[in-house]
């Protein structure tokens, strides 16, 4: 269900601005496509002159048309800048929709917590759950009122079960209170910036809730600090690599010839994690693979999404050279 690696030719049918920073792109595929609730597509983009791919949530899908919403993030790695350069008629390569967030039906109540652009995967989840007759509520947090994408549709869908929190007006979601109001068998669906995600996850587990009833989607694109340039040192390889703000550590390492394995590229699978020898500055862990405690210990870092807020980091690459099999203490070398 999570493999969808066939690139299809899509055309931008229409472009629409939802907020000053969120733009909708209606894409036409060469064939009918189906999107389960919470689905995303991968799109081939040019980021900083390099071909790359990005995932965007599907907000609507009908026949051969799928609509995605893209937030323009000036400090990002360049994907959104590329998407925003596309006008009606532009052609691009995209995968068919796939969902890792399709709801499990059958709970008495569902709480959806959305932060900012995190509304995009939860919109179709809300639509599906409401359509199934479930009791679905949403807490939708944004910084300013101007950022409230899809407000009208959500109001129509959820009525007074939608609550909006505008941080510029000092409105905050009472996360422990929201969790306490849920029964053990209810479910929570979550998508938003790293700080919100981590706060909800921390309170969820502190309340002794089952991990299987907390569903969330991470884009790995936000952290506690804005992305900045930093330095990676690999003494074993004698390398010192500059990672620009718009590039991931994983890509910078790979570009410099350091052999790496990775899979999800959004901080879930842990394959790209490396040992940290030292840091000079603050690490901005943006993955969900490690626990908060592991982040605090700082022994490892997921290179696909996490980075240094500033300064430098010294790591061990996966490369250790071929072992001398006559020597038994291989791990120490």
């Amino acid at each position: 269900m999570n493999t969808h690696d066939t690139w299809l030719d899509a055309t931008v049918l229409a472009v629409r601005d939802l907020t000053p920073t969120v733009r909708e792109f209606q894409l036409q595929y060469p064939q009918a496509v189906h999107a389960d609730p919470g689905a995303h597509i991968d799109v081939q983009v040019m980021a900083n002159g390099q071909p790359d791919s990005r995932s965007y949530s599907v907000v609507r899908c009908e026949g051969a048309n799928a609509t995605i919403a893209v937030k323009h993030v000036p400090s990002s790695r360049g994907g959104s800048r590329y998407m925003w350069s596309l006008a009606q008629g532009a052609r691009l390569k995209a995968t068919a929709p796939a969902s890792d967030l399709a709801p499990v039906y059958g709970s008495a109540r569902y709480l959806l917590i959305a932060g900012g652009i995190g509304i995009t995967p939860l919109l179709s989840v809300a639509r599906a759950l409401a359509g199934s007759g479930a009791d679905v509520r949403m807490a939708y947090a944004v910084r300013t009122e101007a950022e409230l994408a899809y407000l009208a549709e959500l109001q129509e869908l959820l009525g007074n079960r939608l609550r909006v929190f505008v941080s510029a007006r000092n409105q905050r979601i009472d996360i422990p209170g929201e969790i306490a109001a849920l029964a053990d068998t209810d479910q929570l669906y979550l998508c938003g910036p790293m700080g919100l995600m981590e706060a909800v996850r921390t309170h969820w587990f502190a309340a002794g809730r089952a991990s299987s009833r907390l569903r969330y989607e991470t884009f790995g694109s936000s952290g506690r600090y804005p992305a900045a340039d930093f330095t990676v040192r690999l003494p074993r390889l004698g390398l010192e690599i500059q990672v620009p703000a718009e590039q991931s550590m994983l890509d910078a390492l790979t570009e410099a010839g350091v052999a790496m394995v990775s899979n999800c590229r959004r901080g879930e699978c842990g394959l790209c994690a490396v040992d940290v020898l030292a840091t000079d500055g603050t690490a901005d862990h943006r993955d969900v693979f490690f626990t908060r405690e592991q982040h605090a210990q700082g022994g490892k870092i997921c290179t696909c999404v996490s980075r240094m807020a500033q300064g430098s980091i010294t790591i061990e690459p996966p490369w250790r050279g071929d072992p001398d099999l006559a020597q038994t203490d291989v791990l120490a070398s």
Partner: protein, 360 residues
């Protein structure tokens, strides 16, 4: 871009995956409508159907172990709960939020475990076909399941025209009178019905024995199809002239014969069947005898239908010719086609589902 062949079955429907007694505290692998599923019961007895492929490396979960209410993969120990959510991953402290296997809606009703292979949001338990005789003490009997190497629609064709009884089952339930009796074929939004009465003729061997009275009989054969894959046969005999055609069946013997061929793949089926009678209901011996007789009759059908499937495969592109007697099967296929069309056009709207009724 490859053109997808037209599906032979709709996915948004309830299908029988197993008899109630087949599902227990073990892992049962079934392929329903081309989807590999693993079925089991939770500790409270509730039946569960999960996709039978581990999220991690696709190894069938049915080769793993039932642990509590969930399944542990037999390869690397990934654990999935009854909702299909991963609850344990080896060698790490967190769980990948994407890790899950599909959980199929399940309803247990009328002694069958029904699954919904399509969009779970549309899985309305009210759409499970009604089979009240399965739960009624006035009706006794039992059934079984046989795997048939043929398109489930060939089994439906077979049942929608019982003329074949004369030729396939001549020694038990068929005779010449049946093949020559008039019938009519009618339909509704989700059903097709073929009605046939044979009046004042000698009973075939099986029915004569069940009735236990000499002399000519009035025989009824009413075939109800409920799309996409349920057939209910209302069949029986009564002494000729005792009023059965007018609605008084009290002098006769009757059966509801349930036939549910669930598509496993495009060319294989699980054929569930059951014979329920309203006479001598407390005699277990009759249950056994009818079951044995039915097995023999079903084997005759299976032989013909599998041979037909092989002949179709050997003659690709050859279309069927249809006769007057095929009206029932044509109505059944039209209803199935309508459901498939609706799915292909994406016109299906979610039903409002009572929450507590859907397996969770």
């Amino acid at each position: 871009m490859t053109s997808t062949p037209r599906p032979t079955f709709p996915l948004n429907a309830w299908y029988v995956a197993a008899w109630d007694a087949e599902v227990g505290r073990t892992l049962l692998a079934r392929s329903i409508c081309g989807q590999q599923m693993v079925l089991y019961r939770k500790q409270d007895g509730q039946a569960v159907a999960l996709a039978d492929a581990c999220w991690h490396r696709l190894v069938p979960l049915s080769l793993g172990t039932l642990v509590g209410d969930g399944v542990r993969c037999g390869y690397h120990g990934m654990h999935f709960n009854a909702d299909g959510r991963c609850t344990h991953m080896p060698s790490q402290e967190t769980i990948n939020p994407s890790a899950c296997v599909r959980s199929f809606p399940v309803v247990e009703r009328h002694r069958f475990v029904w699954v919904w292979p399509g969009d779970p949001a549309l899985a309305d338990p009210a759409k499970v076909p009604s089979l009240p005789w399965m739960d009624d003490a006035d009706w006794a009997g039992d059934g079984s399941m046989v795997e048939v190497k043929a398109d489930y629609r060939l089994i439906l064709d077979n049942l929608m025209d019982l003329t074949h009884e004369t030729y396939v089952h001549g020694s038990s339930i068929g005779n010449e009178a049946l093949a020559e009796a008039p019938f009519d074929a009618v339909h509704g939004e989700t059903t097709a019905t073929v009605r046939r009465w044979v009046l004042g003729e000698e009973a075939p061997a099986f029915w004569g024995a069940q009735l236990g009275k000499p002399g000519p009989v009035d025989r009824w054969q009413i075939i109800h199809f409920k799309a996409p894959a349920t057939i209910l046969l209302d069949v029986g005999v009564a002494p000729a002239g005792s009023g059965a055609p007018q609605g008084d069946r009290s002098q006769g013997v009757g059966m509801w014969v349930i036939h549910i061929p669930t598509p496993s793949t495009e060319k294989t089926s699980y054929y569930f069947w059951c014979h329920l009678r309203n006479y001598r209901v407390r005699e277990q011996r009759i249950t056994r005898e009818v079951l044995q007789a039915a097995r023999g009759i079903l084997l005759e059908d299976e032989t013909i239908i599998e041979a037909q499937q092989r002949a179709m495969d050997a003659n690709p592109g050859r279309e069927f010719y249809n006769l007057n007697i095929d009206a029932g099967s044509l109505w059944a296929r039209r209803l199935i086609d309508g459901m498939v069309d609706k799915e292909l056009s994406g016109a299906q709207q979610p039903a409002v589902v009572p929450r507590e009724a859907v397996g969770a």
